[in-house]
Amino acid sequence: MAVRRLAEEQPEGFAFDAANMARARREIAKYPPGRQQSAIIGLLWEAQSQNGGWLSEPAIRYVAEMLGMPYIRALEVATFYTMFNLHPVGTVAHIQVCGTTPCMLRGSEALMDICRHRIHHDQDHPSADGRFSWIEVECAGTCVNAPMVQIGSEVFEDLTPETFNRLIDDLDAGRPVKPGPQVARHLSEPEGGPTTLTDPSLYAAAAKPAAAPVAAPAAPVVAPAPASPAAKPAGIAAPRGGRGDDLKVLNGIGPKIEKTLHELGVFHFDQIAAWTPAEVRWVGEHLAFPGRIEREHWVEQAKALAAGKGA
């Protein structure tokens, strides 16, 4: 980021149009009386949108006057936030190229070279025809799809020099462009489909209900209906031999759940190992974690532990 100054050439004046004025009043009304200055960012943003994507000096003064604050306070805000452009930007696109490390490693410098050659050698300067401008920005938060650029409120990801050139061509020609990854990839999923957790057995428990909607798309995607009524497992009054097993050994059980299980009279691994599916469902609901016992395979774990203890 460099020192940000107001543009040398400024328009004569500025005033909100009717729609923006209404929006501005709504913004101001969000704050309690006497605190209307809190609306400064919202109003400056409206002013920037109305002014073709950049904030002129008359616009800053206009907003300051509207909020009854000194000009310098509004200027402070306008120069502090880089989302406010203080110079005219391209009428078609103002391209914000992310230059932070992940994008840089994935080739953002090549994108900036394209900007330098195709738009203007320097940032924050519109191209000769005034249609494009560019600026290097800090991380825009889509590192997994690096390198990326932001244009307006859309992001264009997984760019290569070729796709980026094509994007500029399309914008220049007014052809529709597709935001998001510019490669065959859905959002931030791995390219060419999943590479891990591909073993279908991992999804065995959920496979049956999940398979239903695939087979019959009309079926609602809801939790599988209870196969049998839930049943409370029978507990014992006190641990056998005065000392229970450490249930926390089970993956998924912490001190809190252990305490609840004790209240249910469950103190030993073999008790859990003996739970029927109906009992499992009841305990899951009682713990307010339906499905968790199955997911974390408590019963299987308990069986192994009970067997190990017995041996």
Binding site: M1, V3, R4, P70, I72, R73, L75, E76, T79, F80
Partner: protein
């Protein structure tokens, strides 16, 4: 009160104290740049880091309250250390960061020798720099004719920004950009318009904001410092006059919590170039050709003696100016009485204040410090922002602490705080007194109201009636015991002193306005002007005018004889400020050329006129004055007058007029002869006039 352990010693401090204040109370020095007692806390310089037991990191002591400290596990008082190794390391680190971008230009920096950064780098910094990259460079900004900027040096403490927004009440300075690109500037580099802007020079801990008129003039260690009192307004701000040889190089504020805290107005600070120009450095005599010719003291005295000889006392008069000291007026009064004249007046603006109503009728009874505890303020015919800028800052400080009702009767002006404009003239005041106006209820209910009456309401024919009405409003209600809310705001430094020594015409004698009229009509033959320039000098007819003063201004231009006197930095004397505080001027420099201290001129003149005044030294003169007016013997003393002292006022017979109250100050930067001689004040005045014209468009 809360217990706190600082460096092993337990101290008992109020819980609202910050750790920095607590450390100071315990005698531990904490370096700081952004923290300032009279400004809000910013906490951005990080120089005041201390170790707080239980905190994983050092904490900024300026922004950490004592009540936020956690006690020890067994309820021991929280422990703070300022001398441990981590603290030393933290300070060294912060200092190193601050110096990364700070230029090493101390040898050419005006702050050199009195720079916080320089001192603290010596005390808390390390001896070398590990930073080898380029330093940042920042363009210097234009922010007016008084404050010079050197923005490479700025360390972003934001003291100046907070001062202009909080104390001065004119939020013009701001910090644009952010991080390394942060810059202090005004909006589009316009000149600051505050009349207190010079104080940012003192506040700046580095050399980023320095005095423009004083730029490259002197080094602090070659200046002789004299602690004296300001005479530009009637507040009596405590100042320090720095001189080199016989020249005043600059004027700085001194701390006086009861008067100016630590601020002074721009006129007080930047007047000093006016002390060098337009000076009267030898006696002048108007020759037969109508031109003023240099003359010797003997010739000048001789001309006065022949003009006075044989004249009736009633045809002689004397008017004292705004900067005259009490001693001078006491001596001049004695001389005039010896000449048989009662025509003496220190109220050249035509003010109707009269010592006959008692001292409570012409001083700022609640005192300036009393503003801090006021619960309602009524301003009548005054623009305190320009008549007494520092006092206005005090009202603003009180208003910021907790908003209080403030009403104004007179011309609506920007006072930097919200007020209710009640009306323009005496009629509105009468409505307040009779309870017709809604603000009257506020004043009646207040326990400690202040009714500030300015010269705009007093220097007019119905002045006594206005004052009586104001006094009635101040008294009428259930007040705290002993609270006298009538506050007369003077604009002239010498006025209260003059009223105190009785430099006013006796019954039947002429007042200043009358004297000018009589002189014009040929009924007054000789007129002595003791630095009086604010009268209509063109209307003095053929009177023989003797001007005793320091500057060639209106009075000297009209004079037949000029006796060169001393300016307020060049003489000893007593000034009584608007609250009646007796303050002593101390000589910082010598008057130029043949000029002499005014009391000595009067003493020598009295000898020539055949009425030798009974003192041979300034000490004797002051002793005589104190013998006649004992309260003038107590330096820095304020005699408080209870509300009962206002009773004398209620007998005024004058009728209320209709005209709206005006403001006595037309141009803040040109209120006296010294200011009119100052090029800096002229530049400020032109800028202010431009702003006024722009606002009118």
């Amino acid at each position: 009160m809360t217990l706190l352990k600082v460096n092993g010693t337990v101290v008992d401090v109020p819980p609202e104290y910050t750790l920095l204040q607590a450390c100071e109370a315990a005698g531990a020095e904490v370096p700081r740049f952004c923290y300032h007692e009279r400004l809000s806390i910013a906490g951005n310089c990080r120089m005041c880091l201390v170790e707080l037991k239980g905190s994983p990191k050092p904490v900024a002591s300026c922004a950490w309250a004592v009540r936020d400290c956690r006690p020890g596990p067994n309820g021991e008082p929280p422990e703070v250390n300022t001398r441990t190794k981590p603290v030393k390391k933290a300070r060294e680190g912060v200092m190193e960061f601050l110096l990364i971008n700070h230029p090493l230009d101390c040898p050419i920096c005006d702050q050199g020798g009195e720079c916080d950064l320089q001192d603290q780098a010596m005390a808390y910094g390390i001896d070398h720099n590990r930073y080898a990259e380029n330093k940042r460079a920042v363009e210097d900004k234009y922010i007016g004719p008084l404050v010079k900027t050197s923005m490479n040096r700025c360390i972003h403490c934001t003291r100046c920004v907070r001062f202009s927004a909080e104390v001065a009440g004119v939020p013009e300075l701001g910090a644009t950009g952010r991080g390394e690109d942060m810059e202090i500037t005004t909006y589009l580099e316009s000149a600051m318009s505050s009349e207190l802007q010079g104080n940012v020079i003192d506040l700046c801990p580095v050399g980023a904001l320095t005095s423009k008129p004083y730029a490259f003039q002197a080094r602090p260690w070659e200046l002789v410092k004299t602690e004296t009192i300001d005479a530009m307004d009637a507040v009596g701000s405590a100042i320090r006059v720095d001189t080199r040889g016989r020249e005043v190089m600059r004027i700085l504020p001194r701390l006086n919590e009861a008067v100016n805290e630590e601020w002074i107005s721009d006129k007080t600070r930047f007047i000093w170039d006016g002390l060098r120009t337009q000076r009267l450095d030898r006696p002048y005599l108007r020759g037969a050709n109508g031109r003023l010719e240099p003359a010797s003291w003997t010739a000048a005295f001789g001309a006065i003696a022949s003009a006075v000889r044989g004249k009736q006392g009633a045809r002689i008069g004397a008017i004292a100016g705004d900067l005259a000291t009490a001693e001078e007026m006491f001596a001049l009064k004695a001389l005039m009485h010896a000449l048989g004249s009662q025509n003496i007046d220190c109220r050249q603006d035509g003010s109707t204040l009269d010592p006959a109503f008692g001292r409570a009728s012409y001083v700022f009874n609640p005192t300036i410090a009393g503003i801090d505890s006021a619960d309602a303020i009524l301003i009548v015919g005054s623009d305190p922002r320009h008549e007494a800028s520092v006092l206005n800052a005090r009202i603003r400080k009180r208003w910021r602490k907790a908003e209080l009702p403030i009403g104004l009767v007179g011309a609506p002006v920007d006072l930097t705080y919200r007020y209710e404009h009640i009306g323009a003239g005496p009629e509105s005041l009468a409505q307040l007194a009779s309870g017709e106006h809604s603000f009257a209820k506020v004043l009646r209910a207040a326990k400690r109201p202040i009714v500030i009456v300015g010269q705009g309401a007093l220097a007019r024919a119905d002045g006594p009636a206005v004052l009586a009405l104001a006094a009635a409003i101040a008294r009428d209600g259930d007040r705290d015991a002993g609270w006298n809310g009538l506050a007369v705001l003077h604009t002239a430094a010498g006025r209260v002193g003059g009223l105190d020594v009785g430099f006013v015409p006796a019954a039947g004698a002429h007042s200043a306005i009358d004297m000018v009229r009589e002189a014009g009509a040929g009924a007054l033959d000789v007129l002595f002007l003791l630095g009086a320039d604010e009268i209509d000098t063109a209307a003095l007819g053929n009177a023989f005018v003797v001007y005793i003063g320091s500057h060639g201004d209106a009075g000297a231009e009209r004079a037949n004889v000029i006796l060169p006197g001393a300016a307020y930095t060049e003489k000893s004397g007593t000034l009584v400020n608007t609250e009646g505080r007796v303050q002593r001027l101390r000589r910082a420099a010598f008057p130029p050329g043949d000029a002499r201290e005014d009391w000595a001129i009067l003493r020598a003149l009295s000898d020539v006129l055949g009425h030798r005044l009974p003192f041979d030294s300034f000490g004797e003169l002051r002793a005589r004055m104190v013998a006649a007016h004992p309260h003038l013997g107590v330096e820095d003393g304020v005699v408080l007058h209870g509300p009962g002292a206002l009773e004398a006022l209620s007998v005024s017979k004058a009728k209320l007029g209709k005209a709206a109250f005006g403001n006595p100050i037309r141009d803040f930067y040109f209120t006296n002869a010294i200011a009119r001689a100052s090029a800096v004040m002229a530049e400020c005045s032109a800028l202010a006039a431009g702003r006024l014209a722009e606002a009118a468009e």
